[in-house]
Amino acid sequence: MDCPGCGFQRSLLLLLKGDLFASIRMYWGTIPILLMLVFLLLHTRLNFRNGSKILIWLYCGNAVLILCHYFYKLGLY
């Protein structure tokens, strides 16, 4: 019985091994979450003008992506 975070760690390991597509297939949200965290780090250092708004959209986009992947894993489509 899968939980919404299942596969994140495995996907991360696959990414570190260099297998981009396997990582995406294992967990759709890994790369978007990592990109969001990088942007968060840059925003705290460099203070972009609309950085906070962009982060809200990135976060909501990630939330939708994780939801979609969870329902896809459960077979509810």
Partner: protein
């Protein structure tokens, strides 16, 4: 942004500083997608004081830091709601599976 700060400084004759917990609230709000529940709750608790302080005296704080507080709060609230919904869905599924386990009638 610089001009705005200078105006605020002239009007209130005090240095404009960022809200104290702005970065923490933003980081915790965004981390609430990876580290469930606890980050979102801490972010909301930390941001309540700052929000009150900003609303009483908006000129004394940078608007950028208030944007960060807002973003952190929104992300934390979305994260908490999402997790509550998913826990309920998960609970229903587990209950459904448990109910339909075939029993051995010997």
């Amino acid at each position: 942004m610089e001009y705005q700060n200078e105006q605020q400084r002239d009007i209130f004759n005090q240095p404009v500083r960022p809200l104290p917990n702005a970065t923490a609230v933003l980081v915790l709000g965004i981390l609430s997608i990876v580290i469930c529940f606890i980050c979102g709750i801490i972010a909301l608790v930390l941001s309540s004081n700052d929000r009150k302080r900003y609303q009483e005296n908006p000129g004394a704080y940078t608007s950028g830091s208030y944007d960060q507080i807002r973003a952190g709060r929104i992300c934390a609230i979305v994260g908490i709601c999402l997790q509550v919904i998913l826990i309920i869905v998960y609970g229903f599924f587990v209950a459904f599976v448990l109910k339909n386990i075939p029993r051995d009638n010997y």
